[in-house]
Symmetry: C2
């Protein structure tokens, strides 16, 4: 602690006062915990409890089966997809919500290989991916007769070739917080004639994605991190409009049928993004998410990104000032263009350190074997939180 | 209407008074609607709203990320599976809850084909199945190199052969309410060396299933019908204990890993039923289901079955007395051994008839092209409901 505490704390106060997003914090249920784990489970939006009570007591309890039509349950997957769309730079009609991220990765990858066509039998996957994407990619490769090849994102351009069917990449690395270059990598994948599939779990709601602008083919993401949909809230699948006709889902459940209530024994895929649906949507989780998305009304993703970078810059500065040299090693890139909305610090005995931090009211998380992760959710984390977290971290390590 | 209304109404009153399950009705939120659509969406159990409020406000809102451990979120899929187990005649450790029925059909069928082994490349599916099972079976066949063959359940024994890998059957037909002979058909499938997969959507919670007793290999079911889990509540997958080691899921998400938080790039399936898990479970829907299952405390499935048959017998009697000859044709078998817990009546202009019934407070549903479905959920439907439904039906048709 080479500097007096007060200087950074005073600056935090000024930064908070000037923060144009500070009003968004009131849209969440928060307490005096410094919650830096919104990149794992977003905080509860204040609108959700009342909405869910209505869904349970009135829509289910009173209207019962009629709610599939009258309460808009049936169309929730595409309606909520359209609500997520502007947050990831997509025009309406390209996103459906439902199932877990893992299930959507499977749909996207098998769909991608089928789109790629004959003679392309190699699937590339981010070698540093969150494990589920790798496991599911292995299954998708096995079931489509492809070879799976794990490649570090930076090495993807050199690994592409005539046989590449599809590439699955993470926009932001779950562990290090590194932001990968979606526009350049997508262009390289297309240059090679392959299909680009992006996992947006750690970027959507934290920074601009630009799916349409950059011509991404397929994308998936969860909704319980920066989108605050609640524990295990349903994931989403993006299928770019001009490849929708060629999207051939490996999970053609009745909800993806052109005429779901026709009860026809022959399958015929619905037009558009609807063919990404599968079975009956889990309405409680889905409508909690829909309510949670209201916190984005009037919020620009660009403003969120600007604050996110200011928060992580300030955190790095506070850590550098408070934590003695050698106490932690930052795994997250310093360059803004390579940084998501989290900071990953490697330190000795990280699991135990995180436990002590949580006991002191600073909640991040631990990722094996040696990483402390701190997520910065600009809608409800302020600069005073950041200063406090760094200070308590320094005290904990001391 | 060849008999006075009062005679059947009086009998209904006596039957209700003698009904040992009549107390269960108090466990649900009901009104004066005659709700005969619990085979599509079960009524709201009274315990659910308060539980969900706690899950949202305290577990998510206050404990946030800590709830994955402290509120038992992480282990919910297998814990709730064990709660469903006695209702379908399964010992603990064989059922996990999560994903939609369609997704579970995919897991079960691909898993079944992989279990069946070399040289078996034909998949049989109930030709009269609810469509999603047929669509998903087609995808599973395509992705495992099998041929799909739709066969009426009664013809399955004759269709089995050396090349049969697996057979997907419905315990109760969604349209006609016909109960298929699970013990005999499972034995026939095994006799042929194939794997038996059962869809329990329309039987679990309405009649004894006996999965363990009859040696069923794999089974799936939804939880929003007779199990009252709520709209789109998660489905379940049963994998019989002695085939679990051979169950090789096509959706090996990180939740099914032997060490999910090890973040290892190599996949290693968890032991037991856990390998049926995929991604992060949708906690709100899952814990609403867990609460809903409490209505089964102290209820025997045998008592439910006895009442179900008494209800459907009485409904058939009332319809016969009230509805003029030729007004409706019953598609549901009269023999108890072939009847589930619903009555399907074919009639002219069935869609419009059901609309008028619903306007008059008798809620069943319509299945294209010409079927009225009435579901009898013994936990909350009484004999007076049955008499009223038949009477209003007769008046509507008149």
């Amino acid at each position: 602690m080479s500097e007096p505490v007060s200087e950074l704390a005073v600056r935090a106060e000024k930064l908070d006062a000037a923060d144009e997003l500070r009003g968004s914090r009131d849209a969440f249920v928060l307490d005096d915990v410094t919650y830096l784990d919104g990149n794992s489970l977003g905080a509860l939006p204040a609108v959700v409890p009342g909405r869910i009570e209505d869904v349970v007591r009135r829509q289910w309890g009173e209207l019962r089966i009629r709610s599939w039509e009258e309460s808009g349950w049936w169309t929730a997957p595409e309606r909520i997809g359209d609500r997520i769309a502007p947050l990831v730079g997509a025009a309406p009609g390209q996103i459906v919500v439902g199932d877990s991220t893992s299930v959507n990765v499977f749909k996207a990858l098998v769909g991608a290989v089928r789109m790629a066509g004959e003679g392309r039998d190699e699937l590339l996957v981010d070698a540093t991916t969150f494990p589920t994407d790798g496991y599911i990619a292995e299954s998708a490769a096995r079931m489509t007769g492809c070879t799976l090849r794990p490649v570090a994102p930076a090495d993807v351009p050199g690994a592409l070739g005539d046989r590449t069917a599809a590439v699955l990449l993470n926009h932001v690395d779950y562990r290090t917080g590194r932001l990968h270059d979606l526009p350049a990598l997508t262009a390289a994948v297309h240059e090679a004639g392959a299909v680009a599939v992006w996992d947006l779990c750690h970027s959507a709601g934290a920074l601009p994605v630009g799916l349409d602008e950059h011509g991404v083919d397929l994308a998936v993401g969860c909704t319980y991190k920066y989108l605050n949909g609640g524990p295990g809230s349903p994931a989403y699948l993006y299928v770019r409009r001009d490849v929708q006709d060629r999207f051939d889902s490996p999970l053609p459940g009745w909800n993806s049928h052109a005429e779901p209530f026709g009860m026809r024994s022959e399958y015929e895929a619905a037009p558009g993004a609807l063919r990404g649906r599968v079975g009956t949507p889990d309405i409680l989780s889905m409508l909690a998410l829909e309510a949670a998305l209201e916190v984005w009304d009037g919020v620009s993703v660009e403003a969120v990104r600007a604050k996110s970078l200011a928060l992580t810059d300030f955190f790095l500065e506070c850590v550098e000032r408070y934590v003695p040299e050698g106490g932690v090693e930052c795994l997250t890139p310093v360059a803004h263009g390579e940084r998501g909305s989290q900071i990953a610090l490697r330190c000795h005995d990280a699991g135990a350190v995180m436990k002590r931090l949580i006991e002191r009211g600073v909640v991040g998380d631990f990722r094996a074997p040696d990483v402390l992760r701190f997520g910065f959710t600009p809608l409800y984390v302020g600069f005073a939180d950041v200063e406090r977290a760094a200070r308590v971290l320094a005290e904990t390590l001391a």
